[in-house]
Each structure stands twice: as structure tokens, then as C-alpha cells.
């Protein structure tokens, strides 16, 4: 495992009605796949690979869920910002 994730993490609350569903997860995955390191979505300590829709769906995040997005390396801080913005905008729905 790499360095402690707290350094490179952001918090966000799911605001869209449908929650983190397949299509919104797909949008996150698309961004996460361009990252240099692994990007994680964490809910109540449970970690999901942000490049995997299925992994994220397994977290079953509904509207109002608080999640943490973290990256293994600091280079990906920009990716985290983009994902955070995406979540906060309700995935443009």
C-alpha cells in the first residue's frame, strides 16, 4: 500500500436524486481512468476503485451519502478536484 490517503483526499456529498448510480459512476470512472495513480471512493471506510463502475455501485450510495475521494499520489489532486466538482454538480443531471 502506498502513502496515507488522508493527504490527498476530498470530501463530497452526493446531491443528485438518483445517488451514485450506474451512469454517474460511469462519469467518475471515465475521469479516474485518466489518473496516474489509483483513485478511491470511500464510504464509511469501505473503499471502491473509482475506475470501476461496479466497484462503486457496490457502495450503494444514495442521495445524501457522504463520500471521500482519495488518490494514492499527489499528482492526481486535479483529478480529485474534477470528481468532487462532478459530484457536487449532481453529475449534471
Amino acid at each position: 500500500m502506498s502513502s496515507s490517503p488522508e493527504k490527498f483526499s476530498k470530501n463530497a456529498v452526493i446531491v443528485n436524486e438518483l445517488g451514485l448510480h450506474a451512469r454517474s459512476a460511469a462519469k467518475i470512472a471515465e475521469i479516474a481512468r485518466t489518473a496516474k495513480s489509483k483513485i478511491w471512493v470511500i464510504r464509511d471506510g469501505e473503499k471502491a476503485d473509482a475506475a470501476s463502475i461496479i466497484d462503486m455501485l457496490a457502495l450503494a450510495c444514495s442521495k445524501g451519502t457522504r463520500v471521500t475521494i482519495s488518490a494514492d499520489y499527489s499528482e492526481d489532486i486535479e483529478i480529485l478536484n474534477r470528481i468532487k466538482a462532478l459530484i457536487q454538480n449532481g453529475f449534471g443531471e
Binding site: 448510480h21 475506475a51 463502475i53
Partner: protein, 602 residues
């Protein structure tokens, strides 16, 4: 493990569509693709096997993008779904995992993919949120796309069945069922699904025997296995012995003979020997089921459950979506009546994004009219849709879970409000429809004489009424055996409701499962019920029994029944009094308690 030799295996499922058939199994794999073969790949070929998989994924992706480009803008929703699928193709849990399995287990790509997908599917299926559970279907779809490209020209699905077979499948999607050449199918056996599953509906409509919810059917049954199935009892026998075959053939002959008797005159009005007219209606959940109600000679829809459109989806249905479905049913049945029951669940919970709030005791919780009066926005949308559909035929509206007069007044007030606003908008609708309530809460029975003044009809929902009155949760196997429709307390309650209705000059119907059991007809008729609504396939049996009864006799019979001490006594009395009718058919099981409904039923 040694292969099971042709030893007889008896499986039990839910009778999905009555009838008996004996034939050879035709196994459809989960996705409708023929069973996938598993074989080992020698170490030196693993690389090319992985490449074969990668190129199949690439092809699937190109195909999807091709389709997406061709989608017009107004079908954006579909394009979105396919775009999600395109991203899923490369998901590590499908893509990465399959490659890993090929590598580790040295097996072919098709099998590796199947393995990866079944793990994911199990994970989704175990999730409590219906929306997420449904996502399993997306995964299956994506894997099917890849499989098609892997298997190439050999790919064969349900379209290619070329002999008369019994189809064995995990479950069949509407798309698959539409592709099957149904004249080649003698029967259905599915792992999953229930009475209201799509396969069940199709089977009943076409009168093909079907047994659903047979756990492990697809793993225990092999292609070309000889099997015998009974769609009434839910029995499935694989590799039947000589004796079993003889038993099934006997049943088949008896069933068909009885059926011929019952269906004779099925489209004639149902009259007792002394010429009392009893209306026999069908209960439906999906618009498609109207066909079976018509086929079985139903006099209308006595209960149209409307919950389905609210389930497993990502938002409340729109007025138009609801109206569209209701109109379908109303138009097809016209001029016969369609009784639309308003939402009888907790809509918030049915919807995916609210699913976290679990009620301790949902049967006693915020459901039915209670929920609707709390979420008047949701309720009004449905009322609007119902009133608009009413312009296309004869609609009656039914409010569930009424326990208090105030609820009736409030519901009627909202109905008026909605009608006023439709009028103002100049929309096509009908205002003067009959308004009724479900009698399913004991307080409504006690208050029936007062409530009768507020409505046009009562419909007794026996399933819940029995559960609430006898304090029995049918889902609880420790007490389920105490669930007893013939309990004298229940009969007395029906009597109270029926008398109250008669005194106020309103109609009294019954739409619970009790209404679909031929054995109960003497007592129900005797208690004054004049309209019965049931699962479509129960209609012929009930009609037949009614034509053998004398209404005046049943009234005398009911009086005696009301004086009994226990359900056992009532049963004995029934059998003794009507021995001639019911013993004649003892060889053949009395048509289904199409039971096992998940409690949210009337």
C-alpha cells in the same frame, strides 16, 4: 463428483401456469445463449486466448458506439444507458477479472467471463436496494455482448429451437420471450420468477404449463433430459420413473377433461342454478394480463394493482406514463369495468433512493392510503391519470388500507380537487366514476355501516383482513399454518360487511385470494358476495363451481357456517354438504391458491 445417472429427481417450484406436460428439456443459459462450453487452454496459447477476449471486447465497444451514433437526440435516455454499457465493458471487474481468470485457471475466455460475471451478479443481487439489485441486468447485458463476439457465428439463442421442448432457463426477459417460437415450447421451467414474472404471464396467456422459482433448475437439469412438469402444483420431475410417468399421464388426461368441462360456456355469464348472476372478474398487475382475463371469460378487472410502475425505478412515474398504461387496460376491457386500486405501498420505499429508512413493521406502517394522503403530490398524479383513463371506458377507483372515515373524505376531497383542475385545463377525463374502498383493516369492518354511506362499493381484501384479524404474518413460517380463511371470525366479518352494504344499497365485492378458491364459493355466495375477483387462471374453476350451486341453498348453508366454532368445523360442513360437487373433482387439485404473494397483496 460422479454424474448423476438417470435417477429420478423431484423439484418443487411455484405453479406459474396450470397444465401438465412431458417432454425433453431444452436448456437456455442465463442470457439466452446456449450453454457455454468450458475447456482448458494450454500455457502457450494463453496469450492468444487473452487477445481473443480483448478483441471481442473491442468489437462489442465499436458496435455500441455505432448504435449510439445512430440514436436520435430525443432518445437520449437510451443512448445514456448504452454509453454506460460501453464504459462497463472495460470495467476492471469484468475486463480485468476475466483476463485474470484466463491466466490463473487456464480456461477459455467465454468460461472465464461467465465466472467473473456470475460473481458480480451475486454481489448485486444481495444488495438491499432494488435499484442497485437491478444493475445486475446491465452487467449481464454487457457480458452477453462480449460473449456474442467471442462465440461468433456459432452463437445461438432462443430463436433457433427446432423441436418441441420444455424450456429450462434462469429467467426469460421480455425480449427473449418475444423471440421464442412459442409453438415449439410445451412448457417452461425457470430458476427465478414468480406468478407475476413476465414468463408466467406469457405462459398463462398461451396456456402453456409453467413452473417458476425452481431453485437450481438450470444446474440440475441437462439438455435433452426427459422431464414431466405440473404447472398447477409446481412439481417438476427430471428423469421420471415409469410410475411417475403413468401418474402424470393420468393427471394430464383428467386435467384436460376437467378443463374441457370448465371452459365450455366460459364466455357465458355465470349464473347459479336458481339464476343468480355472479360477476367473475380478474386481478391483474400488468396490462398484458388483460389478455388472460379476457381469454378466461372474466367480466372485467376487479383489482388492478398499480404498484408495479413504482417499483425498481429511479423516480416516480409521470402522469402520462401512468395514464398510458391505465388507458391500455381500460380500452381493451371496455365496456367492462376496470377497478383501479390506488398505490398500496410506501412509495418512497419502493423507490430506490429512499430505501434506507426501514420500517419496523411495514404491514402496520405508512402504506396505502396513509402514504398517499401524506404524499398528496404523488397521489394526485395517480388520480389525474386514473380520471383521464376513465374517459376511455368504465373505470372504478379503489382506495386501499382504509381504517377511518376521515381517510375516505380526504381521499374524495383530493379526487374532486383533481377533477376540478382537469376540468379547468380542459383535459379529456371523466368525473362520475364509482369510488370504493378496500375492506381489509378490522376497524373498517366494524365501521362498515357508516362507511357504506360514503362510498359506492366495498371490496373485501381477504389476504390482509385475515392477517390483521387473526394476527398472523403469513410470511412467518411458525404461524403461517394458522392463516385460515374459513375461520368463523372471518366469515362473521364478511357477513357484517355484506349486511352493511346491503342496507345502504351499495355493492360488495371480494378480491383477495379467498375469492379464487372454488371450495369457498358456497359460503361466499351465501354471505351475499355478488362479485368475485381473482387471478385469471382461477376463473374457470370458480365459474364452474358457481354454475353447480343453488343460491338459496348457499344462504341457508352460510347461516349454519356462521354458527360453527372452528375453521375445521366449517370445512367439514362444506365437504359434507357439497360432497357431490367437490368429491367429483377430488382427482384433480382444486385450482391454485396462486398464493405466495409477498404480503403486499390486498
Amino acid at each position: 463428483m460422479p454424474e448423476k445417472e438417470s435417477r429420478q429427481i423431484i423439484l418443487k417450484g411455484i405453479g406459474g401456469s396450470p397444465g401438465i406436460c412431458i417432454g425433453k428439456a431444452y436448456l437456455l443459459d442465463k442470457e439466452g445463449v446456449d450453454v457455454i462450453k468450458k475447456y482448458f487452454i494450454p500455457g502457450e496459447d494463453l496469450k492468444s486466448e487473452k487477445n481473443r477476449f480483448k478483441s471481442a471486447v473491442k468489437k462489442a465497444k465499436d458496435e455500441l458506439h455505432g448504435i449510439i451514433e445512430g440514436i436520435p437526440d430525443d432518445l437520449r435516455e437510451t443512448a445514456n444507458i448504452l454509453e454506460t454499457h460501453a464504459v462497463l465493458l472495460k470495467d476492471k471487474m469484468i475486463y480485468g477479472k476475466t483476463i485474470e481468470i484466463i491466466e490463473k485457471e487456464k480456461i477459455n475466455a467465454e468460461w472465464a467471463l461467465k465466472k467473473a460475471v456470475s460473481d458480480i451478479r451475486d454481489m448485486f443481487k444481495s444488495m438491499s436496494d432494488p435499484y442497485f439489485r437491478e444493475r445486475a441486468a446491465d452487467i449481464v447485458h454487457v457480458s452477453e455482448l462480449i460473449t456474442k463476439n467471442l462465440v461468433g457465428a456459432d452463437y445461438s439463442g432462443v430463436r433457433d429451437i427446432d423441436k418441441r421442448v420444455i424450456l429450462v432457463a434462469d429467467d426469460l426477459s421480455p425480449a427473449e420471450t418475444s423471440q421464442i417460437q412459442l409453438e415449439r415450447v410445451m412448457g417452461f421451467v425457470t430458476d427465478r420468477g414468480g406468478i407475476t414474472s413476465h414468463t408466467g404471464i406469457i405462459a398463462r396467456t398461451l396456456e402453456i404449463p409453467a413452473v417458476m422459482g425452481v431453485d437450481l433448475a438450470t444446474s440440475l437439469i441437462k439438455n435433452d433430459d426427459l422431464m414431466a412438469i405440473d404447472g398447477l402444483t409446481g412439481e417438476v420431475v427430471v428423469n421420471p420413473t415409469e410410475e411417475t410417468l403413468v401418474r402424470f399421464v393420468k393427471h394430464k388426461i383428467a386435467y384436460e377433461a376437467r378443463r374441457a368441462v370448465m371452459t365450455r360456456g366460459i364466455h357465458l355469464p355465470t349464473r347459479t342454478l336458481d339464476d343468480c348472476y355472479i360477476q367473475i372478474m380478474g386481478n391483474i398487475e400488468l396490462p398484458e394480463e388483460v389478455v388472460s382475463v379476457k381469454n378466461y371469460g372474466g367480466d372485467g378487472i376487479g383489482l388492478y394493482r398499480t404498484e408495479f410502475q413504482y417499483l425498481s425505478r429511479a423516480g416516480f412515474p409521470t402522469e402520462y406514463e401512468l395514464f398510458d398504461k391505465y388507458r391500455d387496460v381500460v380500452e381493451v376491457m371496455a365496456p367492462k369495468p376496470v377497478t383501479i386500486r390506488t398505490l398500496d405501498i410506501n412509495g418512497d420505499k419502493a423507490l430506490t433512493y429512499h430505501s434506507t429508512a426501514q420500517e419496523q413493521n411495514p404491514a402496520l406502517g405508512l402504506r396505502g392510503i396513509r402514504y398517499c394522503l401524506k404524499r398528496t403530490d404523488v397521489f394526485k398524479t395517480q388520480l389525474r391519470a386514473i380520471l383521464r383513463a376513465a374517459a376511455y371506458g368504465k373505470v372504478r377507483i379503489l382506495f386501499p388500507m382504509i381504517s377511518d372515515c376521515g381517510e375516505i373524505r380526504e381521499a374524495r376531497r383530493l379526487l374532486n380537487e383533481v377533477a376540478d383542475s382537469l376540468e379547468k385545463e380542459g383535459a379529456g377525463f371523466r368525473r362520475d366514476i364509482e369510488v370504493g374502498i378496500m375492506i381489509e383493516v378490522p376497524s373498517a369492518v366494524i365501521m362498515a355501516d357508516i362507511m357504506a354511506k360514503e362510498v359506492d362499493f366495498f371490496s373485501i381484501g381477504t389476504n390482509d383482513l385475515i392477517q390483521y384479524s387473526l394476527a398472523i404474518d403469513r410470511g412467518n413460517r411458525h404461524v403461517a399454518h394458522l392463516y385460515e380463511p374459513l375461520h368463523p371470525a372471518i366469515l362473521r366479518m364478511i357477513k357484517t360487511v355484506s349486511d352493511a352494504a346491503k342496507n345502504s344499497g351499495i355493492k360488495v365485492f371480494m378480491c383477495g385470494e379467498m375469492a379464487g378458491v372454488p371450495l369457498y364459493m358456497p359460503v361466499l355466495l351465501g354471505l351475499g358476495i355478488t362479485e368475485l375477483s381473482m387471478n385469471p387462471s382461477s376463473i374457470p374453476g370458480v365459474k364452474y363451481v358457481i354454475t353447480c350451486l343453488n343460491h338459496a341453498d348457499t344462504e341457508a348453508f352460510a347461516k349454519t357456517a356462521l354458527g360453527q366454532s372452528t375453521a375445521e368445523d366449517v370445512k367439514t360442513l362444506l365437504h359434507d354438504t357439497y360432497e357431490d360437487i367437490f368429491s367429483g373433482s377430488a382427482e384433480i387439485p382444486i385450482p391454485a391458491f396462486h398464493g405466495e404473494n409477498n404480503g403486499e397483496d390486498n
